[in-house]
């Protein structure tokens, strides 16, 4: 718990020790944190947005290469990872609810399941990447060395594939790191129905990572 002392007002209202002086109420403080998080998510949307726009413009330029290249992706693995992420989103929202309702055990359990799902996602991704690595289906002309039948321009597809899923993968890794930190604080009993903002915010982040994958999956794996 932080060092902020409990303040007694004239009207004898006891403050939550987490509430900072410059906020009128704990609710206002939580709302402000949430707005900050949503603004961060906006920057994330625009970061990925650049890649999405590039991907779509290049698809317009190389439609045949795109059609041919996506056959190298296994849509079963993409679908599996979609399910894994959706389940992790569910356990994440359950973790937020558990924190809100003072259910510490449920909070810890759901955070663990979310972290495990995140690892499963990365393991599946590892198998997909290593398969492409062995075939030489790598980003950029310099690394692309696939020798099977193909349409000119396929390496553009794989450049986007690795940039988009790679950036997304780093977001999963970052999410895991933050979730482990939140988990440590949950074990220490730091979160109560009065104060659970960090759980709420990592939840928003995790759902956005899921939301980006919801678009990545059909765009990369299901185009035909």
């Amino acid at each position: 718990m932080s060092v902020v002392e409990t303040i007694q007002h004239d009207h004898a209202e006891v403050h939550d020790p987490h509430q900072q002086h410059h906020f009128a109420t704990a609710e206002q403080q939580q709302d402000a944190s949430k707005i900050g998080m949503w603004l961060f998510l906006v920057t994330e949307v625009l970061l990925f947005g650049g890649l999405f726009v590039g991907y779509i413009v290049m698809q317009g330029r190389f439609p045949e290469a795109w059609k041919s290249a996506h056959h190298h992706l296994q849509r079963e693995l993409g679908a599996l990872n979609t399910v894994v992420l959706l389940v992790s989103s569910f356990t994440m929202v359950m973790a937020v609810q558990a924190a809100k309702l003072n259910r510490r055990k449920q909070l810890i359990g759901n955070l663990w399941v979310t972290i495990i799902c995140a690892f499963i996602f990365l393991i599946v991704k590892y198998f997909e990447y290593s398969h492409k690595y062995h075939e030489g289906l790598l980003p950029f002309k310099a690394f692309y060395s696939y020798t099977g039948p193909q349409v000119p321009g396929e390496f553009h597809f794989f450049s986007f594939y690795f940039m988009m899923t790679g950036l997304h993968g780093f977001h999963i890794l970052g999410g895991i790191a933050v979730m482990l930190w939140i988990l440590k604080r949950a074990y220490a009993g730091e979160f109560t129905s009065q104060y659970y903002t960090p759980v709420d915010l990592i939840g928003l982040y995790w759902h956005l990572v899921d939301l980006i994958w919801i678009y990545l999956f059909p765009l990369l794996y299901l185009i035909s």
């Binding site: 609710e27 709302d31 949430k34 707005i35 949503w38 603004l39 998510l41 906006v42 949307v45 625009l46 947005g49 650049g50 999405f52 726009v53 779509i56 413009v57 317009g60 330029r61 190389f62 849509r75 679908a79 979609t82 399910v83 959706l86 389940v87 989103s89 569910f90 929202v93 359950m94 609810q97 809100k100 309702l101 002309k141 310099a142 692309y144 060395s145 696939y146 020798t147 039948p149 193909q150 000119p152 321009g153 390496f155 553009h156 129905s193 939840g203 928003l204 759902h207 956005l208 899921d210 939301l211 919801i214 678009y215 999956f217 059909p218 765009l219 794996y221 299901l222 185009i223 035909s224």
Partner: protein
């Protein structure tokens, strides 16, 4: 209102949402095996948008949250739409304005393919794709 309505147990709502998301995932995978022509991508994006809305409204609580968060988030989508819209306008019309100028990537690839075909006429299907300049 949020402090009252959100301190109930919403497990059922969240589980139903997850069920809906999984069903939509199954539908989008199944639809990808059916050939709708150019409508395939439209169908896939439509389903993805329904899924994204479910996640944003229910898992991210935008449905019951203060509207300011929804406004912030929607604004990013509007600007992404402008970004995409103008880039597509540009990509579609540039060749009509400056003939051949911006398809240099494509031309490079074609020239390389031609060179390779000259060097090894029988190898068009097994040609090494390692790109040498």
């Amino acid at each position: 209102m949020s402090s009252h309505s959100s301190h109930h147990d919403h497990t059922k709502l969240y589980a139903t949402t997850l069920g809906g998301l999984l069903v939509l995932t199954a539908i989008t995978v199944a639809a990808s095996y059916v050939n709708f022509g150019s409508a395939n991508i439209v169908v896939a994006m439509f389903i993805a948008t329904i899924k994204a809305s479910l996640v944003a409204m229910i898992f991210m609580h935008l449905k019951d949250d203060k509207p300011v968060n929804a406004v912030i988030f929607t604004s990013s989508l509007i600007f992404l739409g402008i970004f995409l819209g103008f880039c597509l306008l540009d990509a579609d019309s540039r060749d009509k304005v400056v003939t051949g100028h911006l398809t240099w990537v494509e031309e490079q690839d074609r020239e390389e393919a031609k060179k390779k075909a000259k060097m090894s006429p029988a190898a068009d299907h097994h040609a090494p794709a390692a790109e040498h300049h």
